[in-house]
């Protein structure tokens, strides 16, 4: 933490922590007397679609290094548009193939960004 004369690494975060406590108290105090019925946080299953999105993202992060960029990206797109959005199958297929190829060309070929290749090397 250090002293005022010689502030150490914990000095600034400590000050911030105090500020955060004060602000939280202010927020509690401000809303203390308002007695209103809280609106449901996720009305009518609105949590479902964001949750599916996060699940597909987690799948992507888990698998991409092992299976490789091209296949995982394709599966990601198909999963997103099929499970979350329920688009028609030919829309899904064409967009997924097009996007996967497009992204591969832009990033790997044009910009030479190293992509996770996995055991198939693509």
């Amino acid at each position: 933490m250090g002293k005022w004369r010689h502030p150490g690494p914990g000095f600034f975060p400590f000050g911030l922590a105090i500020a955060l406590i004060l602000l939280s108290l202010a927020l509690i105090f401000k809303n203390w007397k308002k007695e209103k019925i809280p609106a449901p946080f996720w009305p009518e299953r609105t949590w479902l679609r964001p949750l599916l999105g996060v699940a597909i993202l987690i799948f992507y992060a888990l698998v991409v290094e092992w299976v490789g960029f091209v296949i995982t990206t394709f599966i990601f797109l198909v999963a997103w548009m099929w499970v979350i959005e329920r688009l028609r199958w030919w829309t899904i297929t064409s967009i997924s193939v097009g996007t996967t190829v497009g992204l591969y060309l832009i990033f790997s070929v044009l910009l030479e960004v190293p992509l996770p290749l996995g055991f198939l090397q693509w």
Binding site: F11, F12, T46, G53, L57, A61, V64, L77, W80, L87
Partner: protein
């Protein structure tokens, strides 16, 4: 100064730079038109690949184009669909959409583009002439001055921003804390890494921004099933009539100057200036009852103001090294990635970057006028691309961008976590903008604070004793007092 500008035009008129200015302008128009994808998120998407573009001038020219180009595009969606394409075009919905309902979408789009062009150019002229003297002045700044200025910027950004002030301040504190993760810049000890080796370098700015802005925004949009086909109406008669011009010329000029000054202010920017301009136009109008029913001044003023502010908000970045809002903070990060330290020495040490970017902004505004006036129908087609297709592609862009920085999936996890946090924050009314700004400014604020306290042997009075920082702190105290008094006044008024 004129020598510099001539040199700048020499740089900006090279084929590569013209091409990237055009790419920036087109991308900016696109993200401006598309709701739910802002310039800050787009620039953060491009940060990882900006190194591949080559010279820093070229990549900053492109990113600047995205930023002010989005101001042009944002109005289109506001007017046609009544959804703000951009945060800075929120007020344009009010009268712009009413004009569209009355069959005057064309003149509304036209006056927005022309107003944007005039105001954008006025803003760039300001940037040209005010930056060099301001940078000269800022060379005298020491740690206390930087501390005072940064603090002022952060507080103004939250106080002037939308939503609850307390919530905004909470976001600022959280942003500063996140910025403290990693090696302490002064002593070199490791802070808040929880044993993760990958966190020693700190949380990467791009990762945080993509999570909070990109993923967070997508997740919140997933909640509502957006129907496709946003636009069905066809736009005709783009050119406003002489009467339209006469009615809106003062609104454009007033908007330009409002944007000009609010853009320079620390914490100011395009969003606030458009709100102020709308309020002013309503106040000075002889027919305030027409506002909300399709008054052309209600489109011309705010759309001019946000463009002017977008240009002048480069002034604090390029002369002081202090970004005033989240999108400019991205350009700050882009400069750092390229190994350029933004600050008072930028103009003298990297004249090519400063003058090249400034000159490109004159050219970019002309490009955008052409892109948005005769070609607006083309971009409107974009609103027909369903979000269902756009969303997964944006998420993939985020993943690739984050991965490419350090070639590790670890960063995708971090981004995902911040995405979920950003989503939940939005749900409870905490806006991520101040957090991102504070995250960047924390790297200036903390060392400045500690160095200043070392200089003064521990006395916090140093911030009030030096003339420049004293003035700034005095201004800060007045501003806070004003806000507190106003809040108390309101509360008392409600009880009485």
């Amino acid at each position: 100064m004129f020598q510099g500008l001539i040199m700048g035009f020499g740089i900006a008129f090279s084929w590569t730079n013209l091409l990237f200015a055009l790419i920036g302008a087109v991308l900016g128009t696109i993200v401006g038109i598309l709701p739910g994808l802002g310039p800050a998120a787009t620039i953060s998407l491009l940060l990882p690949v900006s190194l591949k573009i080559g010279s820093p001038v070229t990549s900053i020219i492109m990113m600047a184009g995205i930023f002010y180009g989005a101001m042009y595009g944002g109005s289109t969606t506001s007017i046609l669909v009544n959804i703000p394409g951009e945060a800075a075009s929120v007020v344009t919905c009010i009268d712009g959409y009413q004009m569209a309902l009355k069959g005057r979408a064309g003149p509304a789009l036209g006056i927005a583009a022309i107003g944007s062009f005039i105001a954008g150019t006025i803003g760039v002229i300001g940037l040209t002439f005010m930056s060099p003297p301001l940078a000269e002045f800022a060379i005298k700044f020491g740690p206390p001055e930087y501390f005072a200025l940064t603090l002022l910027g952060l507080l103004m950004a939250t106080l002037l921003g939308e939503g609850s002030i307390i919530k905004g301040l909470i976001m600022v504190v959280l942003g500063l804390l996140l910025g403290a993760v990693g090696l302490d810049p002064v002593s070199g000890s490791v802070r808040f890494t929880w044993g993760f080796f990958m966190l020693q370098e700190g949380i990467d700015f791009v990762t945080l921004a993509m999570g909070m802005f990109g993923i967070g925004e997508i997740l919140i949009n997933l909640e509502k099933e957006l129907t496709t086909e946003l636009v069905t109406r066809k736009v005709t008669h783009l050119w406003p009539t002489v009467k339209d011009f006469v009615e809106s010329k003062w609104a454009i000029i007033r908007g330009s100057f409002i944007g000009f000054f609010i853009g320079i202010l620390p914490g100011g920017g395009a969003v606030i200036s458009s709100l102020v301009s709308y309020a002013v136009e309503k106040k000075v109008s002889k027919h305030p009852e027409e506002f909300g029913k399709g008054a052309i001044q209600g489109v011309a003023g705010p759309e001019s103001a946000n463009n002017s502010a977008a240009s002048t908000s480069f002034i604090p970045l390029l002369t002081l090294g202090i970004p005033g809002n989240a999108a400019i903070a991205m350009i700050f990060a882009a400069l750092l990635i390229q190994g350029v330290q933004p600050g008072p020495f930028l103009i003298s040490e990297h004249p090519d970057i400063f003058w090249g970017v400034v000159a490109s902004m004159y050219i970019g505004n002309v490009m955008l006028l052409i892109l948005n006036l005769p070609m607006v129908g083309l971009w409107v087609q974009l609103l027909r691309v369903p979000y269902a297709i756009l969303a997964p592609i944006i998420v993939l862009f985020c993943c690739i961008g984050v991965y490419s920085i350090r070639n590790t999936v670890f960063d995708i996890w971090i981004m995902g976590i911040f995405g979920v946090i950003g989503y939940l924050f939005r749900k409870v009314g905490l806006e991520p903008g101040p957090l991102i700004l504070a995250f960047v400014l924390g790297r200036i604020l903390e060392p400045a604070l500690r160095q200043a306290l070392l200089m003064s042997a521990g006395s916090p009075w140093i911030f009030f004793q030096r003339p420049i920082s004293g003035t700034l702190m005095g201004f800060l105290v007045c501003f806070i007092l004003f806000q507190v008094v106003r809040a108390l006044w309101k509360r008392l008024g409600r009880k009485a």
